[in-house]
């Protein structure tokens, strides 16, 4: 993805100059290593701050919800699938959004890398296949493949599925990826072990809702946990309420989640809630042959009835 930044600036500049769009949504360089900040550009100065590298893990489709302007958005594979979902779900009109597609080779896992080096990370730089991490005392070189976010390591749709223009030629898609090895392990547990596993998984949750708010799917005007009339869920730290939030949110994403990884990336306490959404993704695939966000012409699995839908669970 080296070299994308200049191309993105060029495209953004043209789109704004020709009045194709009113604003361009992208990333600007963060103030910390391995962090970039979503931003909008409407001026040449702002365009100049746009950047693209392996630290653009936040899903920019999240910033399109209910927008009124005509916008261009820089979209990697997963973002593009969420844009498809947004269009299907009437959260934005197709002709209102200009999709600048980014063939993506994956985002790096900030927490994983932090755990792999001693001392505070002061700088991170990258080439096509390597990540160089600098601390006060050492410089460590990693293969990018070994420090990818897990969702990126498992990604099979790196190229945008929908776009108006591409930043570069398509990258090779990963094949022979076993997306569900960890999910199968959980499926094989007996119910007591599963209970313990989920208890442990969710116990650090502080209910900051960063996962929900980073998720482009979570656009309900009032989330069920925020409802007050009637109140559905307790607001304290009762584990029943914490679990209810996570399980129900995951179900609400069933057949819609593209495993962009924004939820896990956003979590301040490192919960891998993708284990829940990926189980539902697996079920959707096995039972309905459905993968979210690949086509504007097909209704999502849980949105439509078909005569051959599996019915074995109805007793």
């Amino acid at each position: 993805m080296v070299g994308y930044t200049e191309k993105i600036k060029e495209i953004a500049s043209r789109l704004l100059k020709e009045c194709t769009v009113d604003m361009v949504i992208g990333f600007r360089k963060g103030t910390m290593p391995m962090m970039n900040e979503p931003c909008f550009a409407t001026t040449p100065e702002a365009i100049d701050t746009l950047v693209w590298d392996s630290n653009c893990g936040i899903n920019l489709a999240n910033y399109l919800t209910n927008r009124k302007e005509k916008v261009a958005v820089i979209a990697k594979g997963c973002d593009s699938r969420n844009i498809v979902t947004h269009i299907i779900e009437n959260k934005i009109k197709r002709d209102q959004v200009y999709i600048v597609g980014v063939p993506c080779t994956g985002m790096i896992d900030k927490r994983k890398i932090t755990g792999m080096v001693a001392g505070e990370i002061l700088g991170v730089s990258e080439t096509e296949n390597t990540i160089k991490v600098q601390t006060a005392d050492a410089e460590t070189l990693f293969d990018k493949a070994e420090v990818l976010q897990q969702n990126c390591a498992l990604c099979i749709h790196r190229n945008p599925v929908i776009h108006d223009e591409m930043v570069a030629d398509a990258v090779q898609e990963q094949t022979d990826v076993d997306r569900y090895a960890d999910i199968r392990k959980i499926e094989e547990m007996d119910s007591e072990d599963k209970w313990r596993f989920f208890d442990d998984l969710l116990s650090p949750c502080i209910r900051c809702y960063a996962c929900r708010n980073a998720c482009p799917l979570c656009y309900c005007p009032t989330c069920f946990v925020d409802e007050a009339k009637p109140q559905w869920v307790g607001k304290g730290q009762d584990p029943v309420d914490v679990r209810t939030f996570h399980f129900l949110r995951a179900y609400h994403c069933a057949g819609r989640c593209t495993d962009c990884g924004a939820c896990e990336r956003a979590c301040p306490v490192g919960i891998n809630m993708r284990l829940l959404t990926r189980k539902l993704e697996k079920d959707c695939q096995e039972q309905f042959g459905w993968e979210a966000g690949l086509s504007l012409d097909q209704r999502p699995a849980l949105d439509v009835y078909q005569a051959n839908d599996p019915g074995a669970f109805i007793k």
């Binding site: 910390m32 980073a214 007050a228 607001k235 301040p268 490192g270």
Partner: protein
């Protein structure tokens, strides 16, 4: 003020002795980060960290705290009568709190302990607690405490400040509470090494790489700052999650909820966040802070302007850098304070004109 030397091999023993008189709390590493928790018998605080991921504010202001309880069982004479929940008021000591977090308790105190209102929950916990600080010799690049009203060896809010001298700790006893704790721990070996504190402090401060400027905030017109042109740009990335407010040692907002299970009810207070849209929703459904920009502006204006004007005690921030490190979209209070502090209302007029 007295200095005592604590041989590291007497450290655990001292804490064990102190545990007879105090409930001890300290930083302990969980799955992948440190947090403050009650220390088990014989457990010692773990200092292989710069600071805990979440602030220790929960020690005085738990995320979820039961205040009152009641019964809805009408066969009971005391049904529907609110009663105070029993609290453990025995002394406790927090071992290894960083100076920034200790200073934050004094900022929070301005809210929970006023001449008119005294919050019995926060204040009760505060009064029962002795704060044993651990000086910070290796601040992170995101720490900016020295320009946020404290520093790596700052003493405000502490009863004792401990510094690491290799094979020994050197402790500075700052208050009577600190003295009582040293007595309970049997730490009595007087030392005369004030110079060590001075040089440790100077070295730690020299390692600070981040700073903020706040000198113009008090004199900048509040409404002009409120109407400054940069808020949409700052707020754009914000997810309106509670990460910054929940990890902040000085954010004190809470919400009160009643919860009933069967016939037993409790009234509890829970952390709340000005980042959440429902924080300000009125019962009419009207929300005076209905947009993301309004909410983000509220957070920074509270910390860097309203608090400054109201209390004249500096900013509502101790520079611990947690919000900088934890924000999922990298909204950085250092950048925001720079924009706010350098803002000149006249410039805004010029742009508009």
């Amino acid at each position: 003020m007295t200095l005592v030397k604590i041989d590291k091999k007497n450290w655990a023993e001292g804490l064990k002795a102190a545990a007879d008189a105090y409930r001890l709390y300290g930083p302990v590493k969980g799955k992948d980060y440190h947090q403050f928790k009650a220390l088990e018998k014989g457990e010692t605080p773990e200092f292989d960290m710069v600071n805990t991921r979440l602030s220790p504010k929960a020690l005085l202001f738990p995320q979820s705290e039961e205040m009152l309880e009641y019964s809805l069982d009408e066969s009971r004479e005391d049904h529907h009568i609110m009663k105070a929940v029993a609290r453990d008021n025995t002394p406790r000591a927090v071992i290894g709190i960083r100076p920034c977090d200790a200073k934050s308790t004094l900022l929070v105190k301005l809210n929970f302990d006023t001449p008119e209102v005294k919050d019995p929950y926060w204040l009760g916990a505060y009064q029962n607690t002795t704060f044993i600080g651990m000086a910070c010799d290796a601040p992170l690049s995101t720490c900016f405490c020295t320009t946020a009203g404290c520093g790596p060896y700052h003493e405000e809010g502490l009863d004792m400040l401990v510094m690491d001298r290799g094979d020994a700790y050197l402790a500075k006893i700052l208050t009577d509470k600190g003295k009582a704790f040293a007595d309970a721990a049997g730490w009595k070996a007087a030392a005369d090494d004030q110079a060590a504190f001075e040089s440790g402090k100077a070295a730690a401060e020299a390692r600070m790489v981040s700073s903020i400027k706040t000198d113009n905030l008090a004199d900048t017109d509040l409404l002009e700052l409120h109407g400054a042109p940069f808020w949409d740009d700052i707020a754009f990335a914000c997810l309106n999650c509670g990460t910054c407010t929940f990890s902040c040692p000085t954010c004190w907002c809470f919400d009160i909820q009643d919860e009933v299970h069967g016939k037993a009810g409790v009234r509890m207070k829970n952390w709340d966040s000005c980042m959440f849209p429902i924080f300000t929703v009125h019962t009419t459904g009207h929300n005076p802070r209905d947009t993301k920009t309004q909410r983000v502006r509220q957070r920074f204006m509270h910390k860097l302007k309203y608090f400054v004007d109201k209390y004249e005690a500096g900013i509502m921030c101790v520079g611990c850098g947690r919000c900088v490190r934890q924000c999922p979209v990298n909204i950085d209070i250092r950048r925001v304070s720079e924009l706010m502090n350098s803002f000149k209302p006249a410039d805004a007029c010029a742009v508009q004109g």
